[in-house]
Amino acid sequence: MIWFKKDILSNGEESKSVKVPFGLWVKCDHCGEIIYKKEVERNLDVCPKCNYHFRISARSRINILVDEGTFKEFDANVEPVDALDFKDLKKYKDRIKSSQKESGLKDAMVSGEGLINGQKAMLAVFEFSFMGGSMGSVVGEKITRAVERGIDNKCGVIVFSSSGGARMQESILSLMQMAKTSAALARLREAGLPYISVVTDPTMGGVTASFAMLGDIIIAEPRALVGFAGPRVIAETIRQKLPEGFQRAEYLLEHGMIDMIVERKLMKDTLSRLLAMLTEKQN
């Protein structure tokens, strides 16, 4: 039995999964309650006791969000390539293989188009469980294509981020995805089409410092950790204690970095109303 599943984010932070599996039950590591698993699932993977928003897969996210039967996936077969022949303690090739096997995805992103309460939008959703949602060439390419499709189809673009940052195994190529995606968004802006960035737990590094912070509207899920540098790196650099709630969604809202915090169950409704208000033709 796994008590604590620890992921190492690409920025080196240890990301403790808060939902600890416990047979038919799960323990919410945020409030400590042991809850019936089915109940958590029915509640969109939000703790029914303390409202903690657990991480969810890209597929579940899309299911919650998109009108039934309207999602059309794009670029599902775009695959990562180990262009640098990168090897740390493990080969990048092997990391790709095992992540693909576990997730059933080619890389850390699912993208496509769909209707949100009847509003058409291009969607790009991170899969955090795939190498910590790190951004390499595939993620950058899929976001860029989603944005370009938004321009071609004259509809808005929504990106759900959940990522430790750039994928080190693709080194400078992953850094360049920041420029590539931001350049595409400049064109979307020029075309007068809306881009909504939804930041979920956690969104860090090169992802935050590019498309995630470029939304016409930026929405966060409750308590999501969002920042440039990881909290541990900052604490080591400045050698002082970080303020309470540092880099959490509530902290970002207070400091003017995001527009609002929206609970998962209200996300679909909020997004569709926003899209309508930004794209509706005036009489």
Binding site: K87, A186, P243
Partner: protein
């Protein structure tokens, strides 16, 4: 004599020491000592050339961070004329980790900017070791928009370990500042030429690096994370930085192969710090010729070409689409 010798330069240092020694009693030795000195000088120069011809990635990192290496302000003052420094982001403060202003290159008015490191302890702290806060990036952005408004080419110089990781930096939107620069630079309607002169540290470097031409000095580095940081995360051991430097492919030759940079600018034998005047002169020549090439394009074409350049970055595979 250089005050700062690097570990791998030891054999050259030994010879240089010998030369110093001979010089100190040359008056007694006469022409025999003079011959000896000339011979040793030639030997030292050849050895230096040999050592620098086959630097490992982690050795290049050491040269890129060399304490005597010319910094942004040195390049600005020695390659441009009539530099007038401009300050502040008009929001919060002036960030000394990024300098910039207007100047002339070969008589032509231009806008220049770059990260600035400090030479001594006091200066290092003042410049925050070349690690900008959001204000620095917003100052850079303001200068780029100024350049666009007055139709002046932009020259940026990259030399930073990275954007500063601090509480204030996060609170005031380090991510937003970097992201906005990436977006605005991608569609700025004037030529942009970037030169990596030392350390190109991640997003904090790229934030002034979305350019029509990205040049790198021969012994500079550019990477998504420092070798030390990468080693600490992937090898779980910061002392494995040598391995990380190699794996990350951070030197100019590798980056040229990956298509991320456009040109390598040769440095004097043993690095720019050994002969700064030659380094300034050769970079200046390249900058002038690169600008001339870019000026051929209309502003609209320039933006289109820049978009395509970055649009095509990345390597992935995909079954043929029909």
């Amino acid at each position: 004599m250089y005050r700062h010798w690097l570990e791998f330069e030891k054999p050259v240092e030994e010879i240089e020491k010998k030369i110093e020694e001979l010089r100190s009693y040359q008056t007694e030795g006469g022409s025999r000592t003079a011959d000896e000195i000339a011979k040793l000088e030639k030997k030292a120069k050849n050895l230096l050339k040999e050592v620098y011809a086959k630097l490992t990635p982690s050795q290049v990192t050491q040269v890129a961070r060399h304490p005597d290496r010319p910094y942004t302000m040195d390049y600005i003052q020695n390659m441009f004329e009539d530099f007038i420094e401009l300050h502040g982001d008009r929001c919060f403060k002036d960030d000394p980790a990024i300098v910039g202003g207007v100047a002339r290159l070969d008589g032509q008015p231009v806008v220049v900017m770059g990260q600035q490191k400090g030479r001594n302890t006091k200066e290092k702290v003042y410049r925050n070791f070349g690690m900008p806060h959001p204000e620095g990036y917003r100052k850079a952005l303001r200068l780029m928009r100024l350049a666009e408004r007055f139709n002046r080419p932009v020259f940026t110089f990259i030399d930073t370990p990275g954007a500063y990781p601090g509480i204030g930096a996060e609170e005031r939107g380090q991510s937003e500042a970097i992201a906005t620069n990436l977006m605005v630079m991608s569609s700025l309607k004037v030529p942009i030429i970037t030169t990596v002169i030392g350390e190109g540290g991640s997003g904090g470097a790229l934030a002034i690096g979305v350019a029509d031409r990205v040049l790198m000095l021969e012994f500079s580095t550019y990477s998504v994370i420092s070798p030390e940081g990468c080693a600490a995360i992937l090898w779980k051991d910061g002392s494995k930085a040598d391995l990380a430097a190699k794996a990350l492919k951070i030197d100019a030759a590798e980056l040229l192969k990956l298509g991320v940079i456009d040109k390598i600018v040769k440095e004097p034998v043993g690095g720019a710090h050994r002969d700064p005047q030659t380094a300034y002169k050769s970079l200046k020549t390249v900058l002038i010729s690169q600008l001339k090439e870019l000026n051929v394009h209309t502003r609209e074409d320039l933006v289109e070409l820049r978009y395509n350049k970055f649009r095509n970055m990345g390597v992935f595979s995909e079954p043929k689409r029909y």
